[in-house]
Amino acid sequence: MSLFYYTFIPIIIAFIAYFLNKKIKLSLAILNSVVFAYLFYQISRLYGQWDIPYESITYYIFDREVQLIFQLTPLSWLFIFMTTGAGLLIAIFTIKSQQEYTLRSAFHLNFAILVGSILGVVLAGDFLSLFIFWEIMTWSSFFLISSGEKKAAQKASFRYIILSTVGAYLMVTAIFIIYNQIHTLRYSQVAAHLSGLPITESIILIIMLAIPFIIKAGVFPFHVWVNGAHSNAPKEFSPFLSGLMLKVGIYGVILLLYFVPLYNILKDSIHYRGLPIFNYILAIFGGVTVITGTVLAIRQEDVKRLVAFSSISQMGYIIMALAISTPLGFTGGLLHLMNHMIFKTTIFLSIAAVIYRTKTTKMREMGGLIFKMPVTFAAYLIAIIALAGIPPTNGFISKWVIYQALIEKGYIFLSVAAFFGSIGSFMYVFKPLSTIFLGQLKPEHENIKEVPFLMQLPMFVLMALILLFGILPGLQMNLINQISQLLNITPVGFTLYSITGAFGTWNSLVIFSLFVGGFLLAFIIFISVKKSKPVGLMDTYTSGEYLDDPEAYHYAYQYFRPFDRVFDSFAARSLTAAYDTFAQNIVKLGNVFRKSIVTGNGQTYAFYMILFIVILAFAGWII
């Protein structure tokens, strides 16, 4: 089955189903999940066949021959595997959770197009097809974000689409410049061409190509849209948005850093401690993203906004690891990419389950849901243990590899930022756990039941994945090593359950068994002593007085107020304000022009036309 089918099947079927839906009432979500399951099966069968020839469509515009190329590389296989997997899980989740949602069929249509376009982006072999599917992806995600229930969704999606279009224009100009220089856009030719160009030109081209990818990955200066988009997108879409969409930006960065071997293009540009300056700046951006993401995540009261900021800070980790372009860094970055996709989707799915039941995203309006929704609590608990990077889970392994890479090169600021991010993640990870699941149950949440099984199924699968990859990282490693062979980076040694870092090997099987041993010993001591009497949650010591409303016993609002006070001044000058003022200035500038040109009477129009023709003639005469 040729590679084209992968991208076009979901899009075409989605369109047909959308129009059929008016007549025959079939649940689009089920259709989506069936299609994704089929694709997932096909792709998993595709593993290992890296040698299948690339397919191309060639057609001619103004007698110029343009080729759209599709090729399968281990890197693109990783991404299409992850995309269809996440798409499948989320489609299953939405079967039940979309019941009372008005724009239901539009959601499924856009979702299918989005998945198809991401497959297209990742399978593309040349920049033009990459750009085409990139635009489809941006548009479909724009429609999805703006279809969120809250009014703020429009404003957030507006900011998202502006930043993306700015990135898209940069990419288009870069593609045109490259195209009319070498008349082909295949990655390999473009790479060879770029290394031939003089330094300043290639740097400009690379930056123009890099900016749209960095915007989509939500790195520091452009992380402005991520927060609004995540928290206002419909609750089923934000897992996909933060689990997958941010990764596609990272795919672009990998494309630039390793496919187009940026390393040897910049080998004679100025180096800072053995790293080209472009990479080092990217790494610094990654580090700053980690710190800002963590600090802002701790402050949030809205749980979706909090998890969105945590995605930003985790993205910072990946960017940092990839930018230092050492074998360990590359492996750590890819590992963290996969692990982040798994545990972030789990977190967002469990949050969506909670919102599905309690209809609110404000943390202080929830509490004590552990007894009502145990499965969601278990999924959330295992996911945050992974996010915080605590040993028996996969989160720790990828962070461990990243630390080895950072320490190996001795980058102080980056490792301080990395540690700040991971220790800070304990705080913002624990805040929703204690405000939503633990603490006192609100009276109005008395009759909440667990989410239906279809919504629990994805959580079970993802929980299993977190623990599986936590104990046996080898499964991920052989794929990553094939990718690094492709990009001629020395692969990192590994066995099924251990990875060798710069300073030592990490053996997760032994750690897990010792962990179980310690846990067992504590359990035995606990059991052997006198049984304790269960007592209600309201029977707590509050200096002698008994109050009756659980609200008074639930500590949830401004959980880390002392810590936020330290960063109050910093958070006030947030970047979004800077962007808004920048936007206002442009509008003022526009008004100035408008008043002078569009004056309403005919003479000025005529005068400008003549002026224009004169300039044109004059310019034509010179060139």
Binding site: I390, I412, L438, G439, F503, G518, K530, L537, D539, P562
Partner: protein, 295 residues
């Protein structure tokens, strides 16, 4: 495997006993500082025994699970830190692991205490996590320079590097780093200047407000094991852990009593003052040390 299990149990119980002994001695020394006789040094053993015999209440599943996870997590950390010559699992790459394993114990206790539904406990936990961010940063920067300077991240490797004589203890190679690590150790163990999370007067002993009977005994045992783990870690990394167990225990005692004495004379920091204290001079000193070592 069986030898492992025996070693496993031996080490766990001896660490508990040693930890309780250390706490007893510290109580005696602090009492002497305040010119009072103070409880007998074996008082912690009696406290733990009495607490195990008392009845206790539980607030549901998460309350028990958190207590077990905290204690289990701390015991697992014990196996990676060489106490004198004994280490159960010294495979390398353990230093980063030990820092994160200590977090397991914190997370377990945090879940248990917030699961108890008491607002005072959640306030205590939010203070503890905030302070954790404070003292963890300089501590890790110093560990980072240590890993870089002795370019192995396994504790045994670092200990071997310091074996030959007093001169190349890390105390001498990176003196500023050791001082910063000691200050961070105070925060790590929750000693006096940084015990805002368990402030008895403000939030009725913070996280342990609902822990009675065997749960309080679990918390005491976990604290005892954490004292042993953290002082052993400090001695291994900076004072060249000896392979003769008695010298090692004496070194640990000196470090522990020094921390206790500092603790007995300082009033308590407010939460954000504690965090800012750690991010002001100790962090700058740690970065200075890192710059010296790396460049």
């Amino acid at each position: 495997m069986i030898l492992n299990i025996f070693g496993f149990l031996m080490m766990a119980f001896s660490a508990m006993a040693l930890g309780l002994l250390f706490i007893g001695i510290a109580r005696k020394v602090v009492a002497r500082v305040q010119k009072r006789i103070g409880p007998p040094f074996y008082q912690p053993y009696l406290d733990v025994l009495k607490l195990f015999t008392k009845n206790s209440i539980t607030h549901g599943f998460i309350f028990d699970f958190g207590a077990i996870m905290a204690f289990g997590g701390m015991i697992t950390t014990l196996f990676f830190v060489p106490v004198g010559p004994f280490v159960l699992y010294g495979m390398n790459g353990t230093l980063l692991l030990v820092i994160y394993l200590m977090a397991v114990a914190y997370l377990g206790m945090a879940m248990a205490t917030v699961g108890s539904g008491n607002p005072l406990a959640s306030v205590g936990i939010s203070r503890a996590l905030t302070q954790m961010l404070g003292y963890e940063l300089p501590f890790i920067v110093v560990l980072l320079t240590l890993i870089y300077s002795s370019n192995t991240s396994s504790i045994i490797g670092i200990v071997q590097a310091q074996q030959s004589g007093f001169m190349n203890w890390n105390l001498i190679n990176i003196p500023i780093g050791t001082a910063v690590a000691f200050i961070a150790l105070l925060g790590l163990m929750g000693k006096k200047p940084f015990d805002a999370p368990v402030a008895p007067s403000e939030i009725a002993s913070g996280p342990v407000v609902e822990h009675g009977g065997k749960y309080l005994a679990f918390i005491m045992l976990q604290h005892a094991v954490s004292v042993v783990v953290k002082t052993a870690l400090f001695v291994d990394l900076f004072l060249g852990g000896g392979n003769n167990i008695f010298i090692f225990i004496v070194k640990m005692l000196i470090v522990w009593l020094l921390a206790a004495l500092i603790g007995s004379i300082f009033p308590r920091f407010k939460v954000e003052e504690g965090v800012l204290f750690y991010w002001r001079w100790p962090l700058i000193a740690a970065l200075l040390q890192a710059v010296i070592i790396i460049f």
